[in-house]
């Protein structure tokens, strides 16, 4: 497969390796050391690091600045960008800003509603939606033009990603929605955290039936559970999350001091099973405020050392 950008993540996937990405949430403050420390924990075990964009609508240091910090350290960032906080001027401007630092990956998202965060009384923008953001980046990259039609001098060269949630409703449009994102221009997909593997397998089969697995690189999302409480919280409180009772019960049935280990074990087992699914081309390991566990997961899942590309 030909690569279209200088993205290391794209090269890794195009070479047929199972890619590994992870993510870091920027701090609620301006100390860059927090990002540096977090990324140092995982940098040898992943191919690229997503930097979240004010996740759950809680105000944080901006994704772009954190991505630049990674880039300056010689790492491969994935700029997450939500359409909640920016209009099309800011979106294009931030894309160019990222491109000026040779940030070569972007993940296009709509973002959680602001009512979840610390500025619940604020406006949201949604001038574009995530689908249209994908189109925008591809337009800027492939046509070398702004949305307004003018030519861009030194257009961005970004590998364009999108999220997919196989577990949100309605299920029947989950695969058509994936097809739509691919048609909009998505080149890689990072999925919502997978706990319900049966349902994920069903979604992948439907995707394969339409040949979508050959049109996009699908990275399966996994998040280790730290405790039974977290499992219950994810099941009951996080929109669009599907944690089967079996997982909750397994965590709850484990003594408290062993639950974290059990969570890691479940995560590794999940990766092993996901590896067998045709069309899964890598893993997105989201260890929420638990970055130090990423190396162990990657190693025990047989994904280490990372191939050179």
């Amino acid at each position: 497969m030909n690569v279209k950008t200088p993205s290391k993540l794209e090269k890794m996937l195009a070479a047929g390796h199972l890619a590994v990405t992870s993510e870091c949430g920027p701090p609620r403050g301006s100390d860059p050391e927090v990002i540096i420390e977090k990324t140092n924990l995982i940098k040898n075990h992943v191919d690229a690091i997503n930097i979240t964009d004010n996740q759950t609508s809680v105000t944080r240091l901006c994704s772009l600045a954190a991505c630049i910090r990674l880039k300056l350290l010689g790492l491969e960032p994935v700029l997450q960008m939500v359409t909640r906080d920016r209009n099309r001027i800011a979106i294009q401007s931030d894309i160019l800003g990222a491109a000026s630092f040779d940030i070569h990956n972007i993940l296009c998202l709509s973002g959680d509603h602001q009512s979840f965060g610390d500025c619940a009384k604020g406006q949201n923008v949604h001038d574009l939606d995530s689908m249209q953001l994908i189109q925008t980046v591809r337009h800027m990259r492939d046509e070398g033009k702004f949305l307004g039609g003018e030519e861009i001098k030194r257009p961005p060269r970004m590998f364009v990603g999108a999220a997919a949630n196989p577990f949100a409703d309605p299920f029947e449009i989950r695969v058509p929605r994936l097809a739509k994102k691919i048609a909009a221009g998505a080149e890689f997909i990072q999925t919502q955290c997978i706990y319900n593997l049966d349902k994920f397998e069903k979604w992948m089969k439907l995707a394969r039936d339409r040949g979508l697995h050959e049109k996009v690189f699908i990275l399966a999302g996994v998040t280790p559970l730290k405790s039974a409480g977290m499992a219950k919280y994810m099941k009951n409180r996080v929109p669009g999350m599907d944690v089967p009772d079996e997982i909750v019960n397994r965590m709850a049935g484990t003594p408290k001091d062993k639950q974290a280990d059990e969570g890691i074990k479940i995560c590794i087992e999940s990766i092993q099973r996901l590896k067998e699914i045709e069309g899964v081309r890598g893993f997105h390991v989201m260890a929420i405020e638990w970055e130090e566990k990423v190396p162990e997961i990657v190693e025990k899942a047989g994904l280490f050392p990372r191939p050179e590309v």
Partner: protein, 222 residues
């Protein structure tokens, strides 16, 4: 219709407490239907204010008038000959009526008596819900007659987002996911294949974004 909700009594008292000749002006249109600013609500507010002034040991005249509409010159003219009797008006019309009143009677303070909320419908008595944000370029033909701009919390044109759960929006289990409704409706119309058409970037210049709007039609001008 334009749906409004009552303002808290304390807020209205703050608006008018230093006045003594007050006209409570209702509107016989939308705000009557949504029971926030019609003749009945005018009466209730007037009584409450009379009570307030009496308890304060103040003398105040509180009069009640309900016009056919407050968004029409013709009806607003009906109070011209008596507007000078008052040192304040509390308009229970929507924001349009309040402003039209203020524009017309420059020297009389006009206070809003309701909070204007949205363009919506009566689901049942006591429950009104939003249906339209007046974006100026209707897309309902493409979305099965259900508007994602007014009914999706993120006004997503290509939804649903990943937060749609069991037909409900991620922000509240009380709110239907607009895109679930759209998908259900497209299915009922046997048009589910339309779901995969990408809705391209919307022109928001006909929306609030484009500045104050105007509809001007020569065919009906006198």
């Amino acid at each position: 219709m334009i749906v409004a909700d009552k303002k808290p009594m304390e807020e209205i008292i703050q608006e008018v407490k230093d006045h003594s000749k007050i006209l409570i002006l209702g509107c016989n249109e939308c705000v009557t239907v949504c029971e926030a600013g019609g003749k009945k609500e005018v009466g209730v507010l007037a009584s409450a204010l009379r009570m307030y002034f009496m308890n304060q040991g103040k003398t105040a005249t509180i009069d009640e008038i309900t016009l056919e509409r407050q968004c029409d010159h013709e009806y607003l003219e009906e109070v011209r000959d008596r507007i000078d009797l008052y040192d304040a008006v509390v308009s229970l019309a929507c924001g349009v009526g309040v402003q039209f009143m203020a524009e017309k009677y420059q020297a009389t303070p006009v206070y809003p008596g309701v909070n204007t909320c949205f363009l919506g419908a009566t689901e049942k008595r006591g429950l009104w819900t939003e249906r339209c944000q007046a974006c100026g370029q209707c897309i309902l033909a493409f979305t099965g007659g259900i508007c994602p701009i007014s009914r999706c919390a993120k006004r997503i044109m290509n939804g649903p987002c990943g937060g749609s759960t069991k037909g409900k929006c991620e922000i509240s289990k009380e709110i239907d996911c607009a895109w679930q409704l759209i998908v259900d409706r497209l299915k009922a119309l046997n048009r589910l294949e339309d779901y995969e058409k990408i809705f391209s970037i919307k022109d928001w210049s006909t929306d609030r974004a484009g500045g104050p709007r105007k509809v001007q039609r020569e065919d009906v001008q006198e």
